[in-house]
């Protein structure tokens, strides 16, 4: 089983990294031929950095749109971030001090993450408009996060697993020195679901995470009159006539 999980994790890490970088590469290479920031927009780079930070950390536009979706979505994402940071302890030795600091918050963030997912799912089921636009994969994505959270919380609070051994396994993976994974159904489920999540990341709507940084509506400086902006394919038209 340890070997199986080792192979699985090498594979999904490869898919996740290569897939995500490939997507980012496509976004980077695709030109934005016209200036289309949603105005009013910042007129210098510093302003755009601030605008992007407000979007990334505070979900500013969503806040303007709908307080319920914003509240639940923000709760879910912040919780997820804390949970991910907490998990760094399984990949670092010695554990970085700030990761140790995050640890207790991260544990309880698992609960708020679950609450966020549940709320978002309820919205998807009970609000007519959102139900209308939902595809099966939208529901399954929430189910996946919910299952990951539940399997993780179960290990934290009810059926403890040998986390020292888990850490040994992960560090072993990183140093290509295979260690045994404790045999625990909860752990197997948790790790398999995380592997699935990593695998679908580059081919699903989870691409909204890198996508945000490439959205011309948000990341462009509003200075079209001051600086000529032109894509290479559009510039070629000028030599044709």
């Amino acid at each position: 089983m340890s070997t199986l999980f080792a192979i699985l994790f090498y594979f999904v890490t490869l898919v996740f990294v290569v897939g995500t970088f490939y997507r980012i590469g496509v976004y980077t290479r695709t030109p934005a031929p016209l200036k289309i920031p949603t105005t009013p927009a910042p007129m210098n780079t510093g302003g755009v950095v601030l605008r992007m930070m407000r979007e990334v950390f505070l979900f500013e536009s969503l806040f303007k749109a709908n307080l319920w979706t914003w509240g639940l979505g923000w709760l879910f994402h912040v919780s997820l971030a804390l949970v991910l940071l907490r998990h760094l302890r399984y990949f670092t030795d010695p554990v970085w001090p700030w990761v140790a600091f995050v640890q207790p918050f991260g544990t309880y963030a698992g609960i708020t993450m679950l609450a966020g997912v549940a709320g978002l799912w309820a919205r998807r089921i009970f609000v007519e408009r959102i139900r209308y636009i939902s595809t099966p994969s939208d529901h399954l994505m929430l189910a996946l996060f919910m299952a990951i959270a539940i399997s993780g919380l179960t290990m934290s609070f009810f059926v403890h697993t040998d986390v020292i051994a888990v850490k040994g396994f992960m560090l072993g993976l990183m140093h290509f020195d295979l260690q045994a994974l404790p045999s625990s159904i909860g752990l197997y489920v948790h790790l398999s679901l995380v592997a699935l999540l990593m695998m679908i990341f580059p081919i699903s709507k989870l691409l909204h995470a890198p996508g945000l940084f490439f959205s011309p509506g948000r990341n462009q400086v509003d200075n079209p009159r001051e600086k000529r902006h032109i894509a290479a394919w559009a510039k070629r038209m000028e030599s044709e006539n």
């Binding site: 399954l140 081919i203 959205s215």
Partner: protein, 509 residues
């Protein structure tokens, strides 16, 4: 056509319940063979439309980062789902911005993503069938490209970009929209959307000079094709004869007269509107914009000023520098743009909005204004969607909101804002923008005006507002057509420069 009636106002503006299929058969006329061919599109729907459409989609995905990122990034959060005026007015769920995007996203997933190829049902992917193509023609012509949804999207996804791409694909297979294609054809052939030839234009301007002389006793000129004039005015051709547009044109001329500015119109390039944007076709967008470049070069002007028109100002402000070099900051080796930019006077922003011009003159004290002349008007201001969310004025974010209001407050005494959830960046489209200002879409236009009419009714009841000022030719036409259906006087709508025209005192400074 059955008589069109206005939908009922919502007592409390709650989000409407869904009425699936409400607007299913409500699309516009399909463009005819000759019009299509004049623009280089296939005359009618080609036999291999399926393959051509998918190929065109692939082409656009490689040329527009917006389309590519927007196709991938949507998480179906629903933030935009209640933000579209057409959804609010029609209750058709496919008029929710996310659902409108999904008409294309479902096809994108089927042909361009792995999960869509393997598990179409799971991720909501669909084959591009004839039904889907018809649905595109129908619902992508129920979007006015107003960008209101993009304000609320956590990833800034702009449905306008998707609509433009869809229309570009439809045109490329010979399945475009009559109104837009016909109008672009007129611009290429004659120089403006109305098909008003030079002699008629010159005649109209002479008539205006006589009218203004009669009304004011002053010789205000409406010059055309004057070489060496300082300012070239590019204004929507509706300003030349439509009501209430023409009153704003008189306002511009009075401002130029009062400030001693030498200016000219161009008979060859007598159109600010650029429907190339509406159909999302870069070549057409560029070709229409190049007429202005040509006129500027031929007339040797130092400044280009743009009249009251929403999408035209978006194109001028955001795209002209890219398309035609009207602007500044081109690379030294960029011969195409430098040729024009060396001629322009960069002490001024190029291009300049007429409101920027007038406000600058008011600030300098160059105009003599009699506010009492507008006392019969209790005024509100409708932010035009493309100005609000696709452009700016005055060189700072939000100038596009302040400057027209500053002008109104300088020329009139009574001003009241409408509900703040419907102004500034959150403004609603008039219901006729984005190439939908055609009689075959009248039902849609009336329904799409609902959210604006609701809040206008509020200020009209509470503050006695009897004049809604706008800075867009489409808004002016649309409102004067649909407002009577909502029980308002059609003369309640007018331009900001119509108010300037009322207040300005000529021959005093």
């Amino acid at each position: 056509m059955a008589e069109i009636t206005a939908p009922a106002y919502r007592v409390i503006p709650i989000i409407p319940a869904l009425k699936p299929g409400a607007m299913e058969g409500s699309g516009p006329y399909v463009s005819g063979e000759k019009m299509n061919e004049a623009l280089g599109f296939p005359g009618k729907l080609v036999d291999d439309w399926h393959d051509k459409a998918i190929a065109k989609m692939g082409d656009l995905l490689g040329k527009y980062r917006s389309l590519k990122v927007y196709m991938d990034s949507c998480v179906h959060c629903g933030a935009c789902s209640d933000k579209c005026h057409y959804f609010i007015g029609t209750q058709d769920p496919k008029n929710m911005p996310v659902a409108r995007q999904d008409l294309m996203r479902s096809v994108y997933r089927r042909y361009f993503t792995l999960p869509g190829k393997l598990f179409p049902k799971l991720v909501g992917a669909r084959d591009l069938t004839r039904e889907v193509l018809d649905e595109w023609h129908n619902y992508y012509h129920q979007c006015s490209e107003c960008r209101r949804c993009s304000v609320f999207c956590p990833y800034g996804i702009d449905t306008a970009e998707v609509t433009m791409a869809a229309r570009d694909i439809l045109d490329s297979v010979g399945y475009g929209q009559k109104y837009d294609i016909e109008i672009i054809g007129k611009v290429h052939k004659i120089g403006n959307n109305l098909g008003l030839p030079a002699p008629a234009l010159i005649d109209t301007m002479e008539g205006l000079e006589e009218d203004v002389k009669e009304a004011t006793g002053i010789d205000v000129r409406f010059p055309i094709d004057i070489k060496g004039a300082e300012v070239l005015l590019i204004t929507p051709s509706a300003d030349f004869f439509a009501e209430p547009h023409i009153d704003s044109l008189i306002g511009y001329a009075k401002v130029f007269h009062a400030t001693g500015t030498s200016w000219t119109l161009s008979s060859m390039s007598s159109e600010a509107a650029n429907f190339g944007m509406f159909i999302g076709n870069y070549e057409q967008l560029r070709k229409v914009a190049l007429r202005i470049r040509q006129a500027a070069l031929e007339l040797g002007v130092k400044r280009i000023v743009v009249g009251e028109c929403g999408h035209a100002w978006r194109v001028a402000y955001s795209f002209w520098n890219t398309l035609s070099g009207v602007g500044e900051g081109a690379d030294p080796d960029d011969k195409f743009a430098q040729m024009l930019q060396q001629q322009l006077d960069h002490r001024y922003r190029q291009p300049t909005h007429i409101c920027e011009f007038t406000w600058d003159m008011i600030e300098r004290g160059a105009l003599s204004l009699d506010k009492e002349a507008n006392d019969k008007h209790i005024i509100t201001f409708h932010d035009s969607c493309n100005v609000a969310r696709g452009s700016s004025m005055g060189g700072y974010p939000g100038g596009q909101f302040d400057i027209p209001r500053n002008i109104i407050k300088s020329v009139a005494n009574h001003f009241h804002e409408m509900d703040p959830s419907t102004t500034h960046e959150k403004t609603f489209c008039c219901g006729g923008g984005g190439g939908l200002l055609t009689d075959d879409l009248m039902d849609l236009r009336v329904k799409g005006a609902l959210p604006r009419m609701e809040v206008l009714k509020q200020v009209s009841d509470e503050h006695g507002v009897n004049f809604m000022a706008v800075i867009c030719a489409i808004c002016k036409t649309q409102f004067s057509k649909v407002m009577p259906i909502y029980g308002f006087d059609r003369r309640m709508v007018g331009g900001v420069h119509q108010l300037v025209s009322n207040a300005i005192r000529l021959g005093e400074k």
